[in-house]
């Protein structure tokens, strides 16, 4: 109910001319500076609306006259980092391992890149520092299935093991028990013999030795020394991928476990794979 705008006798302020049940409202306007800032922000938002992406369409959006995009910014930042590193990474890609190792600075860059990439990608299976765990080779120990030279390691990382690629490391141990190649008793005998290879004697194992010579020696070698061309593990050593108790040996002959390592060539370029190879080689197992 509008009333007369008048001066309030108690406070000395003007009223707004509104009255409710006898209560009059004092006119206390916002400070001028506050109002001007409000107007300035409105003006700013109008300009912003035109310059920057602001209106969503059904199948896209208004890009703004500046054409700014956060995704582009990230792409540029990533490209800048790649470019910054390219001086080193290009040289790592093109130089031979021997030449990289001759350049202490380049070698240090490769080892650092390899260390970090290893921690982010390889460590879950191979363990920190390549310590390995049952079923996953200890890279630091040098018990290589496929060879521990730099070129061997590069090949393994690039294509993986049983990864499904044509160039992948590929080996197959027959399931002597599951597919009936050996009878359970024969498996027990050959297991007893295999255990003598790493110093766990078990009396007369002549029968097992014969079975071994007929079935196993072609891949694992006459004395269980292993053959890298087939990726056949060395049995005569004291470090074994899956373990060395009788139970495990029998299980491994009956229905062997064969681990898979993915190929990394889809994720890393050659320079990074070579850096990884250098790092893995440096862990103590390199040949």
């Amino acid at each position: 109910m509008p009333t007369k705008i008048e001066k309030d006798s108690v406070t000395g302020h003007m009223t707004t001319g509104h009255e409710w049940d006898g209560l009059k409202e004092l006119n206390q306007p916002l400070p001028k500076w506050w109002i001007y800032i409000l107007f300035a922000t409105i003006a700013f938002s109008a300009v912003y609306f035109v310059l920057y992406p602001s209106i969503p369409y059904f199948t896209g959006y208004y890009h703004g006259t500046l054409g700014y995009s956060q995704r582009d910014t990230v792409d540029k930042d990533v490209a800048a980092v790649v470019k910054q590193r390219s001086g080193y990474m290009d040289r790592i890609r093109t130089l031979s391992f021997a030449d990289i190792e001759k350049d202490p600075q380049l070698n240090a860059v490769a080892l650092t890149a390899g260390r970090i990439t290893f921690a982010n990608n390889c460590q879950p299976c191979h363990g920190a520092g390549g310590g390995g765990s049952p079923g996953y080779p200890a890279l630091a120990a040098g018990n290589w299935l496929w060879g521990g030279k730099l070129a061997d390691i590069q090949q393994t990382i690039t294509f993986g093991i049983r990864s499904g690629l044509d160039d992948a490391r590929q080996s197959l141990m027959p399931k002597f028990g599951a597919e009936g190649g050996l009878k359970p008793a024969e498996i027990e005998q050959v297991a007893d013999y295999v255990m003598t290879l790493y110093g766990q004697t078990k009396g007369d194992t002549a029968a097992g030795q014969k079975i071994f010579a007929d079935n196993c020696a072609s891949c694992h070698g006459d004395h269980g020394e292993g053959k890298r061309e087939f990726g056949a593990p060395r049995l005569a050593g004291k470090a074994h991928l899956y373990g060395d108790t009788r139970e495990i040996v029998v299980a491994q002959i009956t229905n062997p476990r064969m681990g898979v390592m993915p190929n990394w060539n889809t994720r890393f370029d050659t320079g990074m794979i070579k850096s990884l190879a250098l790092y893995v080689h440096s862990l103590g197992g390199g040949e």
Partner: protein, 489 residues
């Protein structure tokens, strides 16, 4: 209404209360220039201190070609401190502790003997303040002239003198800050770099910082630094005793103070001229006795001697004396100064012990250093031979000025075999690690051992390092790890 009333009543009470201020406004000190033996001695000390400060960085010293040729250089960038023929590494930081202990005890000793002469003569705050006051007097005149001009309205004379004074202060402050930098970087090099604009931004920053602090502390803050910022005056009371020589007004001679002409025999020697007060750089009255503002500079002695001469009284009404002697003199006797007291003997022996320990430590300082860090992962690996292998990062310090081969071997693990993966050394029971001159060599050493040699899965081992040139030997304790449960017999 009652609420409003109580508020008003409270405000009234506050207004009626006398407000007690805990802050005392500074009373500006206008020290009067004095002449005399004390002043001359103070000038001599000042010139010596400033010469030392400005000249020391320029002193050259012959070292190996790879090292800086500055005699005193705190080379933070390369983590070395050169002091004539001594060279300190960051590991030697504990010598600083020894130096600080010696500094503190020396200060205690000197103060207990002759009062706060450090404050009065050699403290940088005193030296630079004195220098700044001298410039002030040269440009603005002595005490009375300065006071008159400060009270007078703005004039051309006042402005140019103030501008000239502050310009001179800033100029000196700049040279002070610039000289400070020379203790951290090679003096001739940084001078050229500074003026050709090629010095690092830190050099400009710290020169600016020390220029600012010198200008503010010596020009503006002056005696307030001593009175309010410095902790030393606060425990002066614990350092002084009745046997300490301090600047003393001989009250038994001076009192009662008598102004003007006097009847023969009546009154003391003090003519209450206030010369000692106007000469005081901290603005106190020495006749009130020893007080924390007194920096023991003795300028009041010169001021008083001058007056005593003119009034035909014996000099040294204000003098250096002990409290004990003053008490004796008041009774017509004399108490000799005692150099050896329990306090000084304790300080002196602490000083001798600290100095001796420093010298011995410096002479026995190892030129070799070893640190061993076991790899965090993998803790160990099992080799095909059944042996266990642990990896260690080994750092070897070579303080010598020539490259050296250090032999490393292990103790406590029989038949251990060492290999090194950075330099491709070994396998052998002992490796020769090459370390460049004046640097730290980092190596990654693998140690292989037989599981049978381990007890409870691990074994304590010591790495022994021997300098093949000097034969110096050092060891480092570490551990060789294996699986906790050895399942195979």
């Amino acid at each position: 209404m009652s609420h409003v009333g109580s508020v008003q009543k409270r405000q009234q009470v506050v207004q009626e209360e006398e407000v007690q201020h805990l802050y005392a406004n500074r009373v500006r000190v206008y020290p009067k220039t004095v002449k005399g033996p004390v002043r001359r001695f103070k000038w001599a000390v000042l010139i010596f201190c400033l010469t030392l400060y400005y000249a020391l960085p320029w002193l050259r010293w012959t070292r190996s070609p790879a090292q800086p040729s500055q005699a005193v250089l705190l080379d933070l960038w390369h983590e070395r401190f050169y002091f004539f023929n001594l060279e300190f590494w960051p590991q030697d930081i504990y010598y600083l502790t020894g130096l600080l202990i010696m500094g503190a005890v020396s200060l205690f000793l000197v103060t207990s003997l002759v009062g706060r002469v450090w404050c009065g003569y050699t403290c940088p705050q005193t030296v630079w303040t004195d220098l700044f006051m001298w410039i002030e007097a040269k440009i603005e005149g002595d005490r009375n002239e300065r006071m008159k001009r400060d009270a007078a309205p703005m004039s051309f004379d006042k402005v140019w003198r103030k501008v000239a004074k502050h310009a001179a202060w800033v100029f000196i402050a700049f040279w002070t800050g610039g000289a400070w930098i020379m203790y951290y970087v090679d003096a001739p090099t940084v001078t050229v770099e500074f003026w050709t604009g090629t010095a690092s931004s830190q050099v400009y920053f710290f020169t600016g910082l020390f220029t600012a602090t010198t200008y503010l502390l010596a020009g503006w803050a002056r005696e307030q630094v001593c009175t309010y910022m410095c902790p030393w005056p606060r425990f002066q009371a614990a350092m002084l005793d009745e046997q300490s020589l301090t600047v003393t007004y001989q009250a038994w001679r001076g009192e009662p103070r008598t102004r003007g002409k006097r009847v023969d025999g009546a009154g003391g020697d003090c003519v209450d001229c206030n010369a000692c007060v106007t000469a005081c750089p901290t603005g106190i009255d020495i006749r009130d006795g020893i007080q924390l503002e007194c920096i023991n500079c003795g300028l009041c002695i010169d001021a008083c001697n001058h007056v005593m001469e003119r009034t035909g009284r014996p000099k040294w009404l204000i003098t250096w004396d002990t409290y004990a002697d003053q008490a004796a003199k008041a009774a017509g006797q004399h108490a000799a100064f005692r150099f050896f007291r329990p306090r000084t003997i304790i300080y002196l022996s602490a000083l001798v012990i600290a100095a001796g320990a420093m010298v011995v430590a410096l002479m026995l300082r190892p030129g070799i250093g070893l640190s061993v860090q076991h790899d965090r992962a993998a803790l160990f690996v099992r080799l095909a031979s059944g042996d266990l292998r642990n990896g260690y990062t080994i750092k070897v310090v070579n303080k010598a000025q020539s490259p050296a081969i250090f032999e490393i071997s292990t103790l406590g693990l029989p038949n251990a075999v060492l290999t090194e993966s950075v330099e491709n050394l070994g396998p052998a029971s002992q490796l020769g690690l090459p370390v460049k001159a004046d640097s730290v060599g980092t190596f990654h050493v693998f140690v292989s051992g037989q599981p049978a040699m381990l007890k409870d899965g691990s074994s304590a081992i010591d790495f022994a390092l021997r300098d093949t040139l000097t034969g110096e030997l050092t060891t480092y304790h570490s551990v060789f790890m294996g699986p906790n449960t050895e399942t195979r017999p």
